[in-house]
Amino acid sequence: MTEVGAGTDTGVSRAEVCAVACAEAFRGDGEIIASPFGTIPAVGARLARLTFEPDLVLTDGEAALMANTPAIDSARDDMVIEAWLPYRRVFDVVWSGRRHVMMMATQVDRYGNQNISCIGDWKRPKTQLIGVRGAPGNTVNHTTSYWVPAHSPRSFVERVDVVCGVGYDRASEAGPVASRFHEIRVVVSNLGVFDFDTPDHRMRVRSLHPGVTLSEVEEATGFELARAEGRAEIEESRLPTPEELSFIREVLDPRSLRDREISS
């Protein structure tokens, strides 16, 4: 476990800061399905429901919705099931817009285009990844956020090799059908939180995790980040409250799976 920045002496790990940042992504969402991919987003969505977003709907990772909020690696017997949601019905939810997905991104660019399909030329890829999955449909139907556990110039790129999740520039070019319900809310990485609240929806730093410098992030980013306007300095990602910290450590992730997902 790596503790956050020098001098803070809080005992809070980077993974725990990231979990809170992921939870914050779901703030204000109300009664929709939160679909987190990855360990730390799973902790984050559950943390949001246990604290400031009690109406969030969570799946059991298979074909049901879960009424309680047990640990992310809990046995099926510890889950209280409230409704049935097989894969076919997931699309009813996606197309109705009542969902906020936090997907992973092998590559993401300055407008929030995301790639999980392949690296290189799609016709004959250098590296085949999982495929476009539901990213094209998700991004034009409901709110999407991304989680990138290893922030580097290879993941934050000038241009993604295949546009799977649709970014702001591409949604706008595709016309009102594509942009009407489109929202890339945040990208959370191991270094900070990024959003698109700029006039032309270019990615900017919303907050840096404690101990991370702007130059460190700029070096790890393959494109120029937009500057936040009218703000003297960049905010620091907030630390978990004592209540949140005990939820993370004792209830949601007692076996510290979160520390396996990020290295710094």
Binding site: S117, K123, T127, L129, S179
Partner: protein, 294 residues
């Protein structure tokens, strides 16, 4: 009423080179693996495989029977990527149609409804339209109507299948199929989209006996959707078939590890893929008792 019972060999002998086949299940879950293995050793060529992809896609690509794969993803669930599918793509051995999962669903639904396409927002703005240049868009014929934004929707073409194979927990001899696990996936649509429809099951029971196994809502496949039913015990192995059995994670790891190394893969093929289903199941039992004893 017709007794639809058939053997693996009989249903695979209905296939021809160049056919488009749909494979039910999802990822590494409830895949009709007994049939997949039989197709892999069939010597067929130029098949188009349509699948919410798992090890079925990898095994068929590696066997050289596939010309083209149609998928939204290919994954082993507990192992993110299938090594055989990856190398088939990276070596340029197969053609591909890679589409959004929801577009895939609508393609099957259109075929099951015998209509040429269904409109959707999914795909707009993404590279799905670039990498699949045959895809077209359509504008609403109801301008100014509810939900019309005046711009184009994707027209997802019907994914019509020559044959479809699904694996369920129970079936009866008339071809009704029962899913006792949590998710029926898209199996009904695969069958609905196909000309030749095959249901394999852990156990085939007498007509009327399915309700002794589970409530009527679990009988998601009516005999309207099947031409043949094949009893294939442990037939989804090594994918999961809850509640009968979970995924054989040890075996899946062996599969993925072997697939990454030519010599290991040749040995895996000899032991598990160049043999009939009975010998496959015997070899799996042996492997299991060996590792259990170790």
């Amino acid at each position: 009423m017709a007794d639809k019972r058939a053997t693996i060999e009989e249903v695979v002998s209905e296939l021809h080179d160049g056919m488009t086949i749909g494979v039910g299940g999802w990822g590494s879950r409830r895949k009709p693996m007994a049939i997949v293995r039989a197709i892999a050793r069939s010597g067929l060529h130029d098949l188009t495989v349509v699948s919410y992809g798992g090890p079925d896609v990898g095994i068929l690509c590696s066997a050289g029977v596939v010309r083209k794969a149609v998928y939204g993803f290919v994954t082993l669930d507990s192992i993110a990527l299938d090594p055989l599918f990856r190398s088939a793509r990276q070596n340029g051995e197969i053609e591909a149609m890679e589409i959004d999962e929801g577009m895939f669903y609508l393609g099957l639904l259109a075929a099951a409804q015998r209509i040429p396409f269904l409109p959707t927002r999914a795909g707009l703005g993404s590279d799905v339209l670039r990498i699949n240049p045959e895809l077209r868009t359509v504008t609403s014929p109801y301008p100014g109507g509810v939900f019309d934004d005046g711009s184009a929707l994707v027209a997802m073409p019907a994914l019509a299948l020559d044959a479809a194979f699904v694996h369920v927990n129970r079936a009866d001899t008339h071809g009704n199929g029962q899913v006792l696990g949590p998710d029926p996936f898209f199996d009904e649509l695969f069958l609905g989209a196909a000309r030749v429809r095959v249901v394999t099951a852990e156990k085939v029971v007498e007509p009327g006996a399915l309700l002794g196994e589970g409530p009527v809502q679990t009988v998601t496949i009516s005999r309207l959707l099947s031409d043949a039913v094949v009893q294939t015990p442990n037939g989804a192995h090594f994918t999961s078939c809850a509640p009968d059995y979970g995924r054989d994670e040890d075996f899946q790891r062996l599969y993925a590890k072997s697939a990454g190394d030519p010599d290991a893969w040749a040995a895996f093929e000899r032991r598990y893929l160049q043999v009939d289903e009975q010998d496959y199941q015997r070899a799996v039992d042996e492997e299991r008792s060996k590792s259990g004893a170790a």
